[in-house]
Symmetry: C2
Subunit: 282 residues, 2 copies
Amino acid sequence: MAKAKKQKPTILITNDDSIAAPGIRALYEAVKDLGRIVIVAPDKPQSGMGHAITLGHPLRLQKSDLYPDIEAYSCSGTPVDCVKLAVDKVLHRKPDLCLSGINHGPNHSINVIYSGTMSAAMEAAIESIPAVGFSLMNYGMNADFSAAQHYARRITEKMLKNRLSKHILLNVNIPDFPLSEIKGYKICKQAYAKYQEKFIERKDPGGRKYYWLTGEFLNFDNAKDSDVWALANNYVSIVPVEFDLTDYTVKKRLETLWKDKPNRNVKAVEKKVVKKSMRKSE
Amino acid sequence: MAKAKKQKPTILITNDDSIAAPGIRALYEAVKDLGRIVIVAPDKPQSGMGHAITLGHPLRLQKSDLYPDIEAYSCSGTPVDCVKLAVDKVLHRKPDLCLSGINHGPNHSINVIYSGTMSAAMEAAIESIPAVGFSLMNYGMNADFSAAQHYARRITEKMLKNRLSKHILLNVNIPDFPLSEIKGYKICKQAYAKYQEKFIERKDPGGRKYYWLTGEFLNFDNAKDSDVWALANNYVSIVPVEFDLTDYTVKKRLETLWKDKPNRNVKAVEKKVVKKSMRKSE
């Protein structure tokens, strides 16, 4: 009996730099033969949108002619909206994998929280779709994506081969070096780093003040398994990310420190509940 | 010698429903005598903005006459922008505490990720400012905030009394009941829950499709220490939240499963590095 031909996996690709960005094309080119590729990506740059969703006004979805060989749509919403719309209105089912990127610029350390690229991937993971976000440490539109493509392909192959968990979510950052100068990849933790904000104050022609957000990146983490360390040492960093934000250590401390005195009226409330349920069972 | 009068703590208040929302006023009224209050809040509703920041265009800050007794500003940006601007351009230093809310509507379970209210509080925690987000389980503009105010005050007093950690961040949800029917608070974990999306498709007068995001909330978590459980049982839920999103369990697994073969060129790269550093020390 002939072995049944294995069905190609469906891979959803999105990003936050828009469907027209070179980075998403680089990602598509790197993995296009590994499955049935569907692209749903923002119609305009959406960097720094974090996990924003569009409430209060509707969304548009437009067939894109930038990718004539596949199903590709631009969406008027945020990266997270793209994933939601792709699942509900384009694929009509969950894809086997969601890839986001390749982002123009790093998303290591604390950037994971602000990044539209990573938030799109996280939305997929919440919806039980394994997901990876890729980011190259170069903001340029003419950046060389070849090393990033090499690692995007390797990691995508790994993700398709071993289904580690339906909620698996990886944050992959690639140093801006030729492939030959990259030492390999490292499984890392998110470095504790932040931005020291410095708003630049200007005045408009009418004399009213306005502010530009700028900031200095400060790394406070010296651990050798942090993503910032790996990237500074010519490694690709891979951080497994979770969306359960509970701080279980603090939870334990507070359970002891913040013991609540029960509401004096609690008995009355419980009696009422008991009475109600008794009535129901009568 | 007379005991030095203790300086009042500075409390930054923000939200995502806008400076004009009844919820932020309820929060202000509940805690106004506990410190020097400064308000910096969005000039329009910003629900669902997650951790979005404003890149690519500038921000406005406008003195608000809604709170004539204190320093209060409306900001044209996102809730996270409000916290950043407040620290850099209004306070010129870190406040002792940041309170966000009281949100009109719940932010339990997975909502913590989409919520502008909680993202503003998280931004404060990243910046080493202890922070609490408060949300009432009622979307109405005429909601009764009195029970929420009671718990907001109690929790704020606790936060001011014991500095638990500079990164402490609490997600507090209050059931929509009179105070007498609330049993107390519970320290909880974030429930695993998500939204089952269902976009509503319509056509505009020109015949082009557009989509409204709607969804059904699905709770998959039966744990009795989850926030969803606590709220369903008439408790206020308090979830300690962290911004290190590393999944350390998966990290450990991947360190074994995904061992990397070092780049064949790695020796060459290292030699180059060694040579360079030797040159430096010559």
